[in-house]
Structures are given as structure tokens and as C-alpha cells.
């Protein structure tokens, strides 16, 4: 018997992972949720059939979306995390004692419940006393916040489906408003490689550039995402992502990481020419 999970990365390309067994299948008010166990990637979570994370490579995504802004902003006290129902971002954030409060806004309560049960590797710190989970539309939550967060991390799904509202100009504008005067926003920024992902990536960048005057993009290598080449956005009111990197201070924290380090931090902002060009086209 062979059981395979396949995701179409384009109409002509797919990634398949051999499945040992399915741990969960369910449908929430927003999407279909599945958890599989595989030999190669360990457990993995899919939403509406799209790969969200695997136990084997989630550290890359979660480290890069968290430690990059944390190594730049000198005093992060209040953090807002949007999406991220798997708990991976919260797990990384809770490693910083300086953080006083984390609001996590996830639209789908069932995703969190499923991850708590089947993916303790990422969901393990959701009960940290500093964490408040709000089951709400992110766009709605942020509309009423002003001058409140030092850091906003937007860990959204793709811009088709429940995450659509998190790729809009009104959302990024509302994030700007919710940030303090030296706040930073980091977001999942799609991939530059396949044409459809590329145009989603460009649309997101265009809208962020319109809201923040410092807006840079950085990259990481995530094997189970389409093309494996993934981008993150760093938007900021004051700090420059590499110019204001506090490498010495961050290294002094002694955090053990699998992917991130402060040299890679600088390197991640050096992008391939075709990506630079695609970004320039919409700036």
C-alpha cells in the first residue's frame, strides 16, 4: 500500500509526501483541516489541502519570522501575532523574557485545538501566561488598536481563502496604526518563483510600501513550500533591518537556533536579481 499526500504547486508541478497515516481530518467553519504522519517530514498540517508546516522544516519558518525582528528592535514589550494557530511563532517569542505580553489573533479556533492535540512541537507554549489568544478576524481585531504594539507578526495563510484579508492595504494600514512610534511589522510574504505566487508577493509588497517608509524583503529556504524559496517582509517605522541589527546583544542572549544566526540575518536581505527586480517593479 502506498498513501501519498500531494499539493499542486502550479497546475503543472506537484509535491508529494508519502504518508504513513492520517491523524486528523475535519472541517471548521473556515476551512478543511488535516494532520498527517509521514516518514520523511514527521507530522504535518494542511489547511484546505495546502501544506502549512511539517515537524521537520517548521523551525526555519518560525525562526526567520521571529528572530529577525527581535534582533533589530531594541525593546519589544508587546507583540501581536496574527494567524499562527499552530503556535510556532508564539513558541519562539516566549523564549524572550523581555516580552511582557503577546496577543495572538487566530480566526479558526479549531486549528488551535487540532494543533494542541497533534502538533505539540509547535503548540507547546500557547499556555504561557503572557499569551492571550483571541479567536477573531485579524482585520477586525486590529482595526480598534492604536499605538499599542512594538512588533506585529503576520503569519497568514495564502491570500486565497481565510487569509485573504491579511494581504490588503487596509490591513497593513491598520497595522501601521496599531504599532508604536518605532514599531516593526514582519509578514509571511509568499514566494517569488512561480508566476501566481510572484504576483501575490508583488501585490503584498506594493501595499506594504504604501504604508511603511522602511519596507524590505528577506528570504529563507523552506523545502516543503512551493519552489522552496520563501520570502518575508520587514516593515518598520524607525529601525533598518540590517543597519540597526544588534548582533552582539542578540548573541549574548545565547538562544539556540537551528537556522537563524546574525550573519545569516544580514545575508537574508541580499536577494537574487530577479527578486529585486520584481520588488522594484511595484515600489
Amino acid at each position: 500500500m502506498e498513501l501519498w499526500y500531494s499539493e499542486q504547486h502550479t497546475p503543472n508541478v506537484k509535491l508529494s509526501v508519502k504518508v504513513d497515516r492520517q491523524l486528523y481530518a475535519g472541517r471548521s467553519a473556515f476551512q478543511r483541516i488535516d494532520v498527517f504522519e509521514s516518514l520523511e517530514f514527521g507530522r504535518f498540517l494542511t489547511l484546505d489541502g495546502y501544506m502549512m508546516l511539517t515537524e521537520k522544516d517548521e523551525f526555519i519558518y518560525h525562526e526567520m519570522i521571529t528572530h529577525v525582528p527581535m534582533a533589530v528592535h531594541p525593546r519589544v514589550r508587546r507583540v501581536l501575532v496574527i494567524g499562527a494557530g499552530d503556535g510556532g511563532v508564539v513558541r519562539e517569542l516566549t523564549r524572550y523574557p523581555e516580552i511582557e505580553h503577546i496577543d495572538m489573533v487566530e480566526i479558526d479556533e479549531q486549528v488551535v485545538a487540532v494543533c494542541r492535540e497533534f502538533l505539540p512541537q509547535t503548540a507547546c507554549r500557547l499556555d504561557d501566561p503572557r499569551v492571550d489568544i483571541h479567536y477573531q478576524d485579524g482585520l477586525k481585531f486590529i482595526r480598534k488598536r492604536e499605538d499599542e504594539y512594538d512588533l506585529i507578526i503576520v503569519d497568514s495563510t495564502d491570500p486565497f481563502g481565510p487569509g485573504e484579508g491579511l494581504f490588503t492595504k487596509e490591513f497593513y494600514g491598520n497595522c501601521y496604526k496599531a504599532l508604536t512610534a518605532d514599531g516593526v511589522m514582519v509578514n509571511q510574504h509568499e514566494s517569488p518563483f512561480y508566476p501566481e505566487d510572484l504576483s501575490a508577493m508583488q501585490r503584498a509588497h506594493k501595499r506594504i510600501v504604501e504604508s511603511f517608509h522602511i519596507s524590505r524583503v528577506y528570504q529563507a529556504h523552506i523545502p516543503t513550500y512551493p519552489s522552496g524559496h520563501w520570502l518575508f517582509g520587514f516593515a518598520s517605522k524607525r529601525y533598518h533591518p540590517t543597519g540597526d541589527l544588534r548582533a552582539k546583544e542578540w548573541n549574548a542572549l545565547g538562544l539556540k537556533t537551528g537556522y537563524y544566526n546574525t550573519n545569516l540575518h544580514k545575508g537574508a536581505f541580499y536577494l537574487p536579481n530577479y527578486v529585486e527586480e520584481a520588488l522594484r517593479d511595484v515600489e
Binding site: 486590529i142 484579508g165 487596509e170 494600514g173
Partner: protein
């Protein structure tokens, strides 16, 4: 017809049956089920092209319905509580015009509010009827025209006892309703027909807690835009008739201008939409109303915006209010409605129904989701944060009472000359000037041009309103009656 089940859809069923017969087409349309136009078929889909067929015996004929269209019309009449329903495929404009042409002839008077749709003015030009305008009251704070006051209607009926009909918007574009049942009763006592423009009122027939529908209020005819809140395809519509209407004559009037090649895409969309409304309409419109209520609550919390609704009801010129409409006054933000309308589209990729000088209207329907409502609210909050201005210098859309000098038909066909806007003051206009949307006339043929009107036109143009009507597309000049 009692006993016929609203779960049926005779035109749709006939099309499905016809498809299975695999009839070889040696008739129009020439694309022959799409095979003759591959690009169009790829774009619109094979199913669509396959059902774009001609009238024929198994599918009936809209000009003279005897089988499936007749049955579908009977089901629609039953669903809407009408004595008869006509399927209309030339837009609600065609339904409105058929309604007026059925009751008015050249020189007949018709009592109507000024804030009628341009299709009504078109009907007056076609049949030569003479308008008796009722001054609509204006809500000064919001700058929106309201409904007709019952006392004003009574006065007009007393002053013009020879008028043939009263026309009522049910509701206006903004969702305001007049006391339709009382107006109807009074007009009937005086031998006048009551015609309802229900372009924005389809859902009144299927809602709890919504304003009364024209048929329930006893009106004689109603033009109902099924393609707006009813969910059918653009351009499809119903003309509903009460028991007093001569259906055969009304059909003759419709056939004067309606196509003889009625689209079965439009007809089947009417049939299926009527079925959906009959079976599930109440639940669907309750959902829409709840969504609109939620959006109003949130928008009013943003500050400076005013999303208005039932609190405007005063038992008179706002006799009732359609709570499915999401109208928002933008004056407090220091922006004209049309400016917010443009910002929503250009900056936030959100298209709303219209913006006028002081308000915007977002059209909500059964196709909307909470996710998109949040986008709209989020964008409005951003527009306030980023573009908010001092409210000084804002002009409200004031009602400018028209001075009717000639019947619209006489003026439209008279000898005319073209003058620059400013020089046209004092002359009699020979054409329409409309702010679109909502498509309500600022000037109609036969009306005297005043300085106030010209100022209004120039201000609306400057704010970015789309002005239509005149021969000169840039509206630098106006056609006036030659002296």
C-alpha cells in the same frame, strides 16, 4: 396558481430537457451552441453557450407565452403576490417604461417625486406625458432626498384631479420608503393608478421586518429589478401587475420595445432566482440584514462616519427604511461620498455601488461574506485615518426644485442650440443632466436652467461625479430650446 410548487422552474427544466434532445440547430443564434466561436466559449463556458438558444416550441416565446414561460410567469406572480408577472429582459428600464406607457398617453399627467430614475424621464419623452413633480423633502444633515409625504400626494391629487397615475419609489436608492399603502388607497379613491419603481425592492417580497412591497400595498404595477437583490443576471427583471391591470394591453406595450430574441440565459436566471427566493429568500435576506446591521454598528464606532438606517423613520417622508442597505454619510470625515467611493476603489480595491456628494452606498447581498465586510470597514477606518479633512467648504446635495416649462417630449424634440454652461442660465433645457450613479436627473428636458443648477453641476464635476445625459460628453455646453 395555487397548487403549483415553487420548487419548480419551468424554463430551466425545459432547457435541461431540450439539451437532452440533442436537436441539430439550423436556427439562430449563429454560434451554434458555441461551436462557431471558440474564444467566446472558452471565456464564458460551454454550459452558458449551450443554453443560449432561440425561442421555439419546446421553449415557448416571450412575446406570446403559452407554455413554459407562461408557467414560469404564473409561478413568479404567485411568489410575489401579484395577479400577473411579466419576465423582462431589456432591463428594469424597460419594465418602468412599460408601466408608464400602459397607463399614460400624450398629454396625460403623472404625479411623481423628482428623485425618479432616468428611465421614468425616458418614458415621459416616449409617451408625451407631463410630469407633476412633488418636492421631495431633503434630510438636511445627510443631504439625501427622502420619500413623498402623504399630505403632499393628497394635495397634488386634489390639484390635478385629471392625473392618470402616481409613481412611487419603493424604496429610493438610499433605502427610504414612502407610505405606499396609504398613498395607494388615496390614489385609488381618486381613480388614479399607482406605479411602483421597485428597482431596489425585490427583497421586500421575501423579508421579515422589511418595508411593505408594492403588491402587498395594493399598487397596480411594480417594476422589480430581480438582478439587483434578487440574484438573477444583469438586465433581467419582473414587471408585476395587480388584479386591475389589463394584462393583454400591457403585453402589447411591452412588445413595442422589447426584443423578439429574448435571451434564455436571462429568462432561466429569472426562473431559478424566483425559485431560490421562494424557497430560501427569508433566511437569505435575514442574513443580509444582520450583516448590514453589524456593519453599521462597526462603522459608527470608527467615528465621523454616520451609517444611517431605521432611526430616520418618522412616519412621514421616511415612512419606512430598508435595513439591508448600507448607506454611510461621509461629511463628518470632510470627504465627499464620491471621494470615499474613489478611494475605496483606487486605494483598497473595493468597488461600492455609488458615492454622491455626502454619502456612499455599499450594496450588500446574499453573495457577501463577513470577511469582505471586515475589509470594507477596515478600509473606511483607514480612509478616515489617512485622508480626514476639515469639513468646511463641503457642499451638500440640495434639492433644487425644477421649473417645468414644457413637457419633456416637446422639449426633447424642439429646435435647440448649444450654449456654454454659464450662458445657459435662464434658458429652457432640451436634454438631461444626471449624476450617475444614482442616475437621478438634475435637469430634464423642458426645465428652466438656473444659476443654482449650474453651480451644482460644476461642483459635482469637480468632486469627480460622473455626469451623463447631455450631447456634449464633457458637459461644458448644454442644449437649450432655440429662441
Amino acid at each position: 396558481m395555487p397548487g403549483q410548487s415553487q420548487a419548480r422552474a419551468p424554463i430551466y427544466e425545459a432547457l435541461r430537457g431540450f439539451e437532452r434532445m440533442r436537436v441539430v440547430p439550423f436556427d439562430v443564434p449563429g454560434h451554434k451552441r458555441g461551436r462557431g466561436n471558440r474564444e467566446l466559449t472558452d471565456f464564458l463556458g460551454e454550459n452558458c453557450l449551450r443554453h443560449d438558444v432561440n425561442s421555439m416550441r419546446p421553449l415557448d416565446n416571450l412575446c406570446h407565452p403559452v407554455s413554459v414561460i407562461k408557467e414560469a410567469e404564473e409561478l413568479a406572480a404567485e411568489a410575489f403576490g401579484a395577479a400577473h408577472a411579466f419576465f423582462i429582459v431589456n432591463g428594469t428600464t424597460s419594465a418602468v417604461q412599460a408601466m408608464i406607457l400602459s397607463v399614460c398617453k400624450k398629454g396625460d399627467k403623472i404625479i411623481l417625486p423628482r428623485n425618479v430614475h432616468r428611465s421614468v424621464m425616458g418614458a415621459l419623452i416616449l409617451c408625451g406625458a407631463v410630469p407633476v413633480y412633488l418636492n421631495p423633502q431633503v434630510n438636511a444633515e445627510l443631504g439625501i432626498p427622502l420619500g413623498m409625504r402623504l399630505d403632499d400626494v393628497k394635495e397634488a391629487i386634489a390639484a390635478f384631479p385629471d392625473a392618470k397615475a402616481v409613481l412611487v419609489n419603493n424604496p429610493t436608492y438610499y433605502g427610504v420608503c414612502s407610505a405606499l399603502a396609504d398613498i395607494t388607497a388615496f390614489a385609488h379613491e381618486h381613480g388614479m393608478a399607482v406605479l411602483a419603481d421597485e428597482a431596489h425592492g425585490t427583497h421586500f417580497y421575501f423579508g421579515d421586518g422589511l418595508p411593505v412591497s408594492a403588491m402587498a400595498a395594493g399598487a397596480d404595477m411594480a417594476a422589480v429589478s430581480m438582478h439587483k437583490s434578487g440574484g438573477s443576471l444583469t438586465q433581467s427583471s419582473f414587471l408585476l401587475c395587480g388584479p386591475s391591470v389589463n394584462v393583454g394591453y400591457a403585453r402589447q406595450v411591452i412588445n413595442l420595445t422589447q426584443t423578439t430574441s429574448a435571451s434564455y440565459l436571462l429568462l432561466s436566471s429569472l426562473d431559478l432566482s424566483r425559485r431560490q427566493l421562494s424557497l430560501r429568500g427569508r433566511a437569505l435576506f435575514a442574513y443580509v440584514r444582520d450583516m448590514a446591521q453589524y456593519a453599521r454598528g462597526e462603522i459608527n464606532q470608527i467615528g465621523d462616519y454616520y451609517a444611517f438606517a431605521s432611526e430616520l423613520k418618522n412616519g412621514n417622508d421616511v415612512f419606512d427604511f430598508d435595513e439591508t442597505k448600507l448607506s454611510v454619510n461621509t461629511i463628518g470625515v470632510g470627504l465627499a461620498g464620491i471621494e470615499v467611493y474613489d478611494l475605496l476603489r483606487d486605494e483598497y480595491d473595493i468597488q461600492i455601488e455609488f458615492g454622491d456628494l455626502g454619502n456612499i452606498l455599499a450594496y450588500l447581498s446574499v453573495g457577501d461574506t463577513h470577511k469582505n465586510i471586515e475589509r470594507l470597514i477596515g478600509a473606511l477606518s483607514e480612509i478616515r485615518r489617512r485622508y480626514r479633512k476639515d469639513r468646511g467648504g463641503m457642499m451638500r446635495s440640495e434639492y433644487i426644485s425644477p421649473a417645468v416649462e414644457l413637457s419633456p417630449q416637446t422639449a426633447f424634440y424642439a429646435d435647440k442650440e448649444s450654449l456654454p454652461l454659464l450662458q445657459s442660465v435662464g434658458r429652457v433645457c432640451a436634454e438631461f443632466v444626471m449624476c450617475y450613479p444614482p442616475g437621478i436627473p438634475i435637469l430634464a428636458p423642458g426645465e428652466r436652467v438656473t444659476r443654482d443648477i449650474i453651480d451644482y453641476i460644476r461642483y459635482a464635476k469637480e468632486k469627480g461625479c460622473s455626469m451623463t445625459g447631455p450631447e456634449d460628453m464633457d458637459i461644458e455646453r448644454l442644449n437649450v430650446i432655440a429662441e
